[in-house]
Symmetry: C2
Subunit: 544 residues, 2 copies
């Protein structure tokens, strides 16, 4: 019944003729329930995909094929990995996504880290209703302009047409300000710093799982301050937290910086961003932090009495990262074998695959595997023992590689005799990543695993930094910029030209200003477009 | 600017003439930003309450009044506590609620406990989209009948009328089954056990913060099994987890049992429930677990191939608790002074209030208070040091009592000299709950605090058990039932009468069958209504 999915390149890569495993354990693998996601972005425009169930069935019967190689078709590869690693699936409504347990576990790891950081920096979680009166959205001029094409509207409730239609929140600045107005009275009520973990809805036309979906999960922080300096400091602090998170937890070397005016959030004075380079060298905006100035507080009348009793409008920020970050992780580290997870964010850091051929070997192998699991679990690692006998070791190797588990521990009868294990790194394919004869003794093994996980974490970051840096080109003219973009690279060059020029670059090259990076080269600069003096370099790239 | 809210009863209660504190520290208290919630349930029928901001302002100016006594008007008391303890606030759309940080922290404590239990019992978190095609809701006959009057419908997306209107999820059985159908193929895919933490929308007419709101937060578990026995075991296991949670964490002595047919979830074969008695003796359904049988699997065609290759419909369960549980905690333990939180669920278990009169006392007192805080924090308690000098100690006492903090530690100059502290229990008002001269020495204090928190936890449960049991009357006739209900009590009696009789009781007394409790008296029983033999006793009560 189960679809057969062969990954021939892996078989030859990891099990050369000299393998120590018997031929019966070689990888002729079947991954379960595999169903391609390729139709996601191009689903029919009706709201439901009612034929899905049937086509999934058909697919299971004929899906005797590997994940599309990444180099061949990056988008197809991405969708294949999401399906095969069981990260997400289509929702029945066009553009919606079901986040499956393994994908959700990555999101939980993101939440766990950020939630602690938010609280450490003085923010409290709370929850605002998702239904926002339509009139609220209209109060801030640029906000309504930015969001009105993307709104989902509730017009019927409890069987009746509503007097005022309700917006399903695309973001919460308006309702937050409505409430802040009631809670903020004097300078003593400031700063007010909150965050919510919530779902949001944006009626996107071109969708892609995790990257851009009709509904997604995110956190949105909202703060109100007595002075513009405090708000600016807060906005910068939060983009710094996101930056550290990206580097240290997800091994993604984002470039933090400031958005151009054209790319600034609808309603913000300044938008800070972290921009990541995906495996296809397109840019992904992975998180943003906005200095909202007094735009919303003026629109909603959010005022406080300062120490002299004068009424002032508050200064505000908002900042968010979303489930998009999961897509970011997939597209930064994944390879032809599937997902590759940085150890710090991996729901499972170590998978143990026991290997036995004869029934009389089974007890010893499983008992050793359990001890190893217990030792690693006690040491604080997230560890999984795959002891089912419904699958072959080869199938399991492929399955857990597809899921991107950083380390695999193999234990066979010979390992039990020698009181040792075999450890394989997900990030180094084949023999080079495989070490035999690591002692099973708890303290030795724990130390070894810790060291290897740290190495993998660092190595993934280094690799991503090197990939990023080799794909950013310094440019000093529009021609150089065009050349860089046409090669699929990022272009970094001095920029002080107009919004119209920026728009022209977009139209002619498909690239936008991703940011003015915080890290700026020293020395005088000349605008690549106009030849006028420029204060800063900007980074141009095609993006998701 | 800040509204003045006097709580005279507290002043006289806790600070008799013999108080050791100087008169300047006595309680003439102002609680900040207090705004009554009384209008919540009776807000105008339009979708927005646009005059709210203005009336809040007015209210702040005139709110020189205490929380309504619980005995005088339970509903007004409940709304006052929610406002004064800053648990929640109105949303701008009728019937919606903003969960403020303190209320949300209680929800987070609930989540933290249950999330661990769900994972321990083999469930994985995931996320389903909230937009459900309308046609899905219609597939299960009793489900559509139960939910269609309560639906919010999205009819416009991205500026266009949708071909098929979308339901904002009131619960997810339909979309879950749509997806399960694609993931479940063989018996090897079972059991499939998942949970999601999400918002849900039900267009309720009569709303009440936490108890019944247009949108609320919950977890919903969904499982699929190969046999009816497994599904039944799962449904029972989950109501048992809820029961233990209620007893052990929230000190609420719920009664677990089975719903009558009339009160069973729309689409379930059996609904198990935990029923709690509120301070006004009305019943609150605090959590439910449904054995769904094959109702949804038949409607959606959710089938698997069993070990013989035969296609079978899966057997399912679903189970949920929601932010309603926060209301449950308020209405079970709260008193005229405000909220009272069981230590295990309290976001802050111990508040430290430093007391100084002269500036030269301040340093010593604050330094001692910090050390105490550090010692308790290190020992794992959730502790808050309220060291602001913008408020008097009296104000702080009231404020933190209103917030229901189980223990208060007071440290004044004399305590610093004697290296001791004063400890006050929230659950025992006045002198009786106050102990002087507890050593500040870390190990002594930590042991003392632990003991007191355990005592409070037990004591709250005992008090609630005793209240519950003294308000349940065993009845053997309809007249006795009517008497009990008219006294505001719960009636427990043998029942084997018809649905029509059950409906008649509801119409004539306002009481419904809350459950057939799991714990049944022994011996033969005679139906209180018909005189026929009865298998079980049922509990009747008025409910929220």
């Amino acid at each position: 019944m189960v679809a057969s999915l062969r990954l021939p390149s892996l078989t030859s890569l990891l099990f050369p003729a000299t393998t120590r495993y018997p031929a019966s354990l070689r990888r002729t693998v079947c991954l379960p329930n595999r169903r391609p996601l390729s139709g996601f972005a191009t689903a029919p425009s009706g709201t439901t995909a009612s034929t899905e169930t049937k086509s999934a069935e058909v697919d299971r019967l004929k899906s005797d094929r590997a994940v599309t190689p990444r180099s061949k078709d990056f988008n197809a590869w991405y969708l294949d990995v999401i399906a095969s690693a069981e990260l997400a699936d289509y929702g029945p409504v066009r553009g919606t996504m079901v986040i499956r347990p393994y994908g959700y576990a990555i999101w939980e790891a993101i939440q766990e880290y950020l939630n602690v950081k938010f609280k450490e920096t003085g923010h409290s979680n709370m929850y605002f209703p998702q239904f926002i009166p339509y009139s609220f959205i209209e109060k801030e001029a640029s906000h309504v302009e930015g969001f009105s094409p993307e709104l989902a509207l509730v017009t019927v409730g409890g069987g009746k047409e509503l007097e005022e239609k309700l917006v399903v929140r695309p973001t919460s600045e308006t309702i937050v300000n409505h409430m802040f107005t009631q809670w903020i009275h004097s300078y003593r009520d400031l700063p007010l710093m909150i965050n919510q973990w919530a779902n949001v809805t944006r009626w996107e036309m071109r969708t892609k799982p995790f990257i851009r979906t009709l509904e997604f999960l995110w956190q949105e922080g909202h703060t109100a301050h007595a002075t513009p300096e405090e708000a600016e400091k807060e906005a910068k602090q939060m983009i710094e937290i996101y930056t550290r998170f990206a580097f240290e937890q997800t091994a993604i070397p984002v470039i933090p910086g400031r958005k151009s005016k054209l790319e600034t959030f609808a309603g913000a004075d300044i938008t800070y961003t972290i921009e990541a380079m995906m495996g296809d060298r397109k840019a992904l905006q992975a998180g943003t932090s906005h200095n909202l100035g007094q735009n919303f507080s003026r629109a909603f009348g959010t005022q406080f009495a300062d120490e002299n009793g004068e009424r002032q409008h508050v200064w505000q920020t908002s900042w968010a990262v979303s489930t998009r970050f999961v897509g970011d992780i997939i597209m930064t580290h994944g390879d032809d074998t599937g997902l590759m997870l940085p150890p710090k964010i991996a729901p499972v850091q170590v998978v143990i695959v026991p290997i036995w051929k004869k029934e009389n070997e089974k007890t010893g192998v499983l008992s050793a595997a359990s001890s190893v699991k217990e030792a690693l679990h006690t040491a604080g690692f997230r560890v999984k023992l795959d002891d089912t006998d419904q699958r072959t070791p080869g199938w399991k190797f492929n399955f857990w590689e597809m899921k991107g588990i950083p380390l695999r521990i193999e234990i066979g009868p010979r390992d039990v005799s020698s009181n040792s294990v075999v450890v394989s790194r997900r990030d180094i394919p084949g023999k080079a990543g495989k070490v035999f004869g690591i002692s099973m003794e708890a303290s030795t093994l724990v130390a070894y695993v810790k060291e290897k996980l740290d190495e993998i974490q660092s190595s993934l970051l280094e690799k991503a930094v090197s990939f990023r840096d080799s794909n950013i080109v310094d440019v000093n003219s529009y021609d150089e910029l065009k050349d860089a973009i046409s090669l699929g690279k990022w272009a970094r060059g001095p920029w002080s030209a107009s919004d119209a020029d920026e728009q022209r670059v977009k139209e002619e090259t498909g690239a936008t200003i991703r940011c003015y990076p915080f890290e700026q080269p020293k020395g005088t600069k000349t605008c690549l477009m106009t030849g006028n003096p420029a204060e800063e370099v900007a980074i141009f790239a095609k993006s998701y």
